[in-house]
């Protein structure tokens, strides 16, 4: 059961206004940030003033797809390189589109050296399940997810196909030699884990360095997973959820060769975005996990003890559909709220 706090010692302030779907954001410092608007605009924001960045690739906007996440290269302060995920249709004969990872150099409000690092295939006109978030580990890898593209019976369990996967690349887009399926001649070599439905939250655990992920399940099957190399997370062969219509997908919630979720939500909250609070900015929130709820329109605070979720609490209830949450380098939590923009949680002294 999720708790509603009786007293709170925080409020929020609006950092960026007027963005319908602030899908991704990357905080540069307390005054500067990048925000993606799903319909296809990347904003550079300084002191609340937003400027559309020029030089983006052609974006394919359809259903849940469009311009998705943006992230700063681990060495951004020196090289100004950013990474982005988005739907594109380029490069194939089939109609439709699929999720792609790019990197590019940000010069003020213009992009140069725009490079496609990975493009999921084939294109599809389906509107669903594009993912996607981007994170970096300490060993020079970039991770991103692609959802099952509305083709659950075909994509997530098939290593020769894209979709329903978490991918790992070197920062230059090359395939790491120790990726789990490099010796499988048929497999897509960029795959790091599989059996996912629609990953829309990802963060590196501040202590273990592991990739944590949340994904939209079917009704009652939203999950938190800790992503491990080569592991199968089971979608759609195992799930705790059922079809939106209430009919079953499978009667199995576990199989020996498939990983259990770290946590699953009943009812579904429609999770998007994921962050740990590592700073001391907020009293009693240190090391807590935060996940946006699109469906219930709050930020969820999750307390974990001994690898178990021991407490869940609503933060900023009724703020709107929370699309994203990140911890800035200044230690504050920033939320992307649909119809609103970017807000920052401010502790009250």
């Amino acid at each position: 059961m999720i708790e509603t706090p009786t007293e709170t010692n925080y409020s929020y302030e609006v950092v960026v206004e007027g963005i319908d779907i602030p899908w991704g954001m990357a905080i540069i410092n307390s005054n500067e940030l990048l925000v993606t608007e799903k319909s296809g605009t990347l904003y550079y924001v300084k002191d609340g003033q937003k400027t559309a960045v020029k030089g983006l690739p052609d974006i394919y906007v359809r259903g849940q797809g469009g311009l998705l996440d943006v992230a700063l290269h681990p060495n951004f302060s020196k090289n100004n390189v950013i990474y982005m995920t988005m739907g594109i249709s380029a490069g194939e004969n089939e109609e439709g589109g699929n999720t792609a990872l790019y990197h590019a150099t940000l010069n003020g409000t213009e992009l140069s050296n725009v490079n496609l690092l990975y493009k999921a295939s084939p294109n599809s006109k389906k509107g669903q399940h594009w993912g996607s978030r981007i994170v970096f580990d300490q060993e020079g890898h970039v991770y991103f997810g692609v959802g099952d593209r509305g083709n659950r019976d075909v994509n997530p369990q098939d290593l020769t196909r894209d979709g329903g996967k978490i991918y790992r690349l070197n920062l230059d887009g090359s395939i790491p030699e120790d990726n789990p399926f490099v010796n499988n001649s048929e497999a897509k070599k960029a795959i790091f884990s599989y059996g996912h439905r629609n990953p829309q939250g990802m963060v590196i655990h501040p202590k273990t360095g592991q990739v944590w992920e949340n994904e939209h399940g079917p009704k009652g099957g939203d999950e938190i997973n800790i992503i491990k190399k080569g592991v199968n997370y089971g979608w759609p062969e195992i799930t705790y959820g059922v079809n939106y219509s209430g009919t079953p997908i499978t009667n199995k919630t576990s199989k020996p060769d498939m990983e259990q979720p770290f946590y699953y939500w009943v009812p579904s909250i429609a999770p998007s975005g994921m962050a740990f609070s590592t700073s001391g900015v907020y009293k009693k929130w240190k090391d807590n996990l935060f996940v946006g709820s699109l469906k219930f329109e709050y930020l969820e605070r999750i307390v974990i003890k001994r690898n178990k979720v021991v407490k869940r609490e609503k933060v900023l209830e009724k703020i709107g559909r929370v699309r994203n949450v990140v911890e800035g380098p200044d230690g504050y939590l920033y939320l992307g709220v649909e119809g609103k923009g970017i807000v920052k949680i401010v502790p009250e002294s």
Binding site: D20, I21, Y60, G65, G127, E338
Partner: protein, 137 residues
């Protein structure tokens, strides 16, 4: 004579476009059902009732039947801000789903003839094409 052959071929190809059989209403509704399941059902739900106060209903919706082009415009370009549907206020955002004119026509025909909704109108891709961003609400 030879010089006329390209024109003749051009004429034939234009003719074939003009004579391309248009979908019947029933075919359009069937195609629209697929579009609905893919792009609309998550918010407006399979019963078309939406979620009171959050996602407006399409079933027996006065907003829909008062001005069909207004809804076409909403699907085509997105819709945000306050609207009133069946005496209830909504203040959300529906973003453009990236559907082409034919897909919008199909899904409109589905919505207009589902859950007890009934409409004499048959929405065509041409009608959708004529709805512009500046179409008055």
């Amino acid at each position: 004579m030879r010089i006329l052959i390209p024109f003749y071929l051009l004429f034939l190809s234009l003719l074939s476009i003009a004579l391309r059989p248009q979908k019947s209403k029933a075919e359009s509704i069937a195609a629209g059902q697929e579009i609905y399941q893919d792009f609309c059902v998550q918010c407006h739900l399979s019963n078309g009732e939406g979620v009171s106060g959050v996602f407006p209903p399409l079933k027996a919706s006065d907003y829909l039947f008062e001005d069909i082009n207004r809804s076409i415009k909403g699907i085509k370009y997105g819709l945000k801000g306050e609207i009133t549907v069946n005496d209830e206020n909504y203040d959300g955002v529906m973003v453009s789903q990236g559907l082409d004119n034919e897909e919008i026509a199909d899904v409109m025909n589905y919505i207009l003839n589902q859950w007890g909704n009934q409409s004499e109108e048959f929405i065509t891709p041409q009608q959708v094409a004529e709805v512009s961003k500046s179409t008055l609400n």
